[in-house]
């Protein structure tokens, strides 16, 4: 048994949560974070995308014991609200009655996690402590003025992880970073009179425009945090939006209903940076029984499935379960976690890339909306046999890789269903049911795994 002592590099969402879970299991945890303590210095916004907590995230927060605290400061969003170019709204529920994803501020959530971590006597939080190097062979972390060491080092230092960079120099480390041609910019809809929300509060708003889109998530103070996703270069692109006139004309043309809601649009647009969107994959996530990457440091994904934080939190849940199952036997846990979990993080990375196309494009497509309606109906008719892909990802704890595999099979199903003559007019039909049942039977013949919702 190793000395129960760990270093956590990075005190973001995943680092703070991991610290709490390790502390609960009796580890002495020293956390090193290069930024100042946001509880004193304030959270620096301007380039964040609001978070959408869903079931995988909640599970981890329950384990940490702060799910109720967070629920009190989060806003349920029961569906998407599509805004077409004429200002028409079309709601589209995410799941069944009562299911929702939750809008929460990254800063507030991080503060609560740090506060909780700080309550453990076996945790030391160290801010303004950037790491200048790592010696993973000797369990050492170099800080500016000292070198610290522990038998366990966790890299939770985000998409541009320094711990990962040092792993990249070890033999046979597989790594990829892939950027979208699109960037994003944070914008802001202020509260209406008396702190009211100027758009439907309990929805994630989307203005899909084919090659680009605007989204808005509600905040508690009545405001919305908006994000514009747009190519860096090309006809409609950030490159083209230089002057106040460019910016205003672009919004009037493509998002006319938002212009009256954003009186300081031009100023915010020019002040906030344009950020890029990266997908990072690597393996292995561990080095011997000594070091492990979690969260964005191991698998940064694009934000279009709302699963970045949720998947990072699920890393922590799964690691905690391994610790309980194998009694802190890191010789077994490190390779087990590191060899199996990337399968799932790769699946959610792929799903998130695919969902960009869905959000910016398909949500305005009648065929896509029809599919969503038929999905809901099939789920009602065959509750033990059919769970739509979105629900598997968002409202279940099925491994992402299984959800993705199921989703591909569902694509085949809907190719058949949407080819039924007249299905556009009338889709609650025996013909649709028959196609579904034949699909199910064939799948059972193929002996594919299918988890029934009751087991989720």
């Amino acid at each position: 048994m190793k000395e129960r002592k760990a270093i956590v590099v990075g005190a973001g969402l995943v680092g703070s949560l991991l610290t709490i879970l390790l502390a609960k299991r009796g580890y002495q945890v020293a956390v090193y974070e290069k930024r100042p303590d946001m509880r004193a210095a304030g959270f620096v916004g301007g380039r964040s995308i609001n978070l959408a907590l869903s079931d995988r995230g909640w599970k981890a927060l329950q384990l940490a014991g702060i799910a109720e605290d967070i629920k009190a400061i989060s806003i349920p969003m029961s569906g998407r609200m599509m805004h077409d170019i004429n200002g028409k709204h079309t709601p589209q529920p995410y799941g069944k009655e009562g299911q929702a994803i939750y809008s929460v501020s990254r800063g507030e959530l991080n503060l609560k996690l740090l506060d909780l971590a700080d309550q453990f006597p076996n945790v030391s939080l160290n801010f303004d402590q950037g790491s200048t190097g790592f010696d993973l062979l000797n369990n050492e972390v170099q800080l500016e003025n000292e070198t610290v060491s522990a038998p366990l080092i966790f890299g939770t230092d985000g998409a541009f992880s320094a711990v990962r960079s040092s792993m990249q120099r070890l033999p046979r480390f597989n790594y990829s970073q892939y950027y979208l041609q699109d960037g994003y910019k944070e914008l802001h809809i202020p509260p209406g009179p008396g702190g009211t929300h100027q758009l439907e509060k309990n929805a994630l708003h989307i203005w899909p425009r084919g090659k680009f889109m605007l989204i808005a998530l509600p905040n508690e103070d009545g405001s919305f945090t908006c994000t514009l996703f747009l190519p860096f270069e090309g006809k409609e692109s950030f490159e083209q939006l230089q002057t106040p006139e460019d910016i205003l004309a672009f919004f009037k043309k493509f998002f006319p209903d938002t212009v009256p809601l954003m009186p300081d649009l031009v100023q915010v647009f020019q002040e906030n940076p344009t950020s890029s969107l990266v997908t990072v994959r690597c393996s292995p996530w561990h080095h011997e029984n000594k070091a492990l990457l979690l969260g964005d440091a191991a698998h940064a994904i694009v934000p279009f499935y709302g699963q970045g934080m949720n998947s990072g939190f699920e890393d922590c849940t799964i690691l905690y379960e391994l610790l309980e199952t194998f009694g802190d036997d890191w010789d077994r846990i490190m390779p087990l976690f590191s060899n199996s979990r990337p399968l799932d993080s790769n699946a959610i990375a792929d799903l998130a890339l695919r969902n960009f196309i869905e959000m910016r494009d398909l949500v305005g497509d009648p065929q896509f909306l029809l599919r969503k309606k038929i999905e809901a109906w099939l789920q009602d008719e065959f509750p033990k046999a059919f769970l739509p892909l979105y629900s598997m990802v968002t409202f279940s704890h099925l491994p992402y890789s299984l959800a993705w595999q199921e989703g591909q099979a569902q694509d085949e199903l809907f190719e058949k269903i949407l080819a039924i003559p007249g299905v556009n007019q009338n889709w609650k039909t025996e013909a649709v049911k028959t196609v579904f049942q034949e699909w199910m039977q064939e799948r059972e013949r193929n002996e594919r795994i299918y988890a029934k919702p009751s087991e989720l």
Copy 2:
């Protein structure tokens, strides 16, 4: 027009060739190489895989003007020679009569290229000059004791390129490194009595064994350079070969005919390192009009198609053609080269990974050997319409991406041909011709591009 001054980082094969071509176009070229001058210090072997020069490589050497010099020190290999476990040999030609790939020593080839580069008064070769950093925004290269600068910086510093590492820190640089689970080790068959070759001289020898293989390429002195490709871990693996007894037993079991040919097998096996096999991809290859990666620095591939050096040399040929076409307009050349060439380097990277399976496994498979025979026959029967994939890659200058696309179509063709009843017994039939002609017609209907061999 920019000042005609360039820095080349790395004086390996591609760096030396690039230097010659830039010098020919009148550039002042300063080359910085971290290793000592191999012309004085000698070439350090022990971890190299012999090179197989093919048409793309020869074209570049012709452009540089040293094709004849190199031909004089290289050995044509007109085909593979398969060795089965009972010592039986099966030859399999690479192409048509007179076509061959050429075994050449990396050290000798590099020496000749350096000698030639050194003859240009506008070239300065600097050895033992490792770069410690790059400032690509300001065109600077930091050496140990000084900082040098030029409007053009070329990174030809290999698979672990330092120039590329500095590009990786720039925004939106896509990058991946992927390791095989297999490693390799250089071995040696010494010359026989009187400097004779102990195996057929004009062949690339393969001992395919399913999950692993041994290969041997001829050298001028009568020896062969052998390479063992084997998984790092598992039942048959490097991990299992620790003691002299392990090593000898393994070779006696799987490569019995080689044991008498390698009297110092155990010693060489233990002395030489076990190296890993990486595929590196990235984009863009350029930074503005200032810096460009070529060769392994931009696209390291595994050695199983014999195209690592050839594709790096082809980078140089294509760049040279761009220089001639666009009169040294680097503003146009850099993005043009950097945005188009990765399509081809990705294709040969994929083909090389696929060929590992072919070499270690399929070359012992009767169906595969039958396909090769039918390919040769179809090429004779339809010389203007059919060129096998291997020939497109090795004996043509078709873009790799087009060859790969053609290769996938040819796979479909041979699925149909090998399903013809009785084709194993009798394959020079009208039935085979008919399947081929139907396939051709369908392809023409689909209006796919097909380059006729006469245009290659």
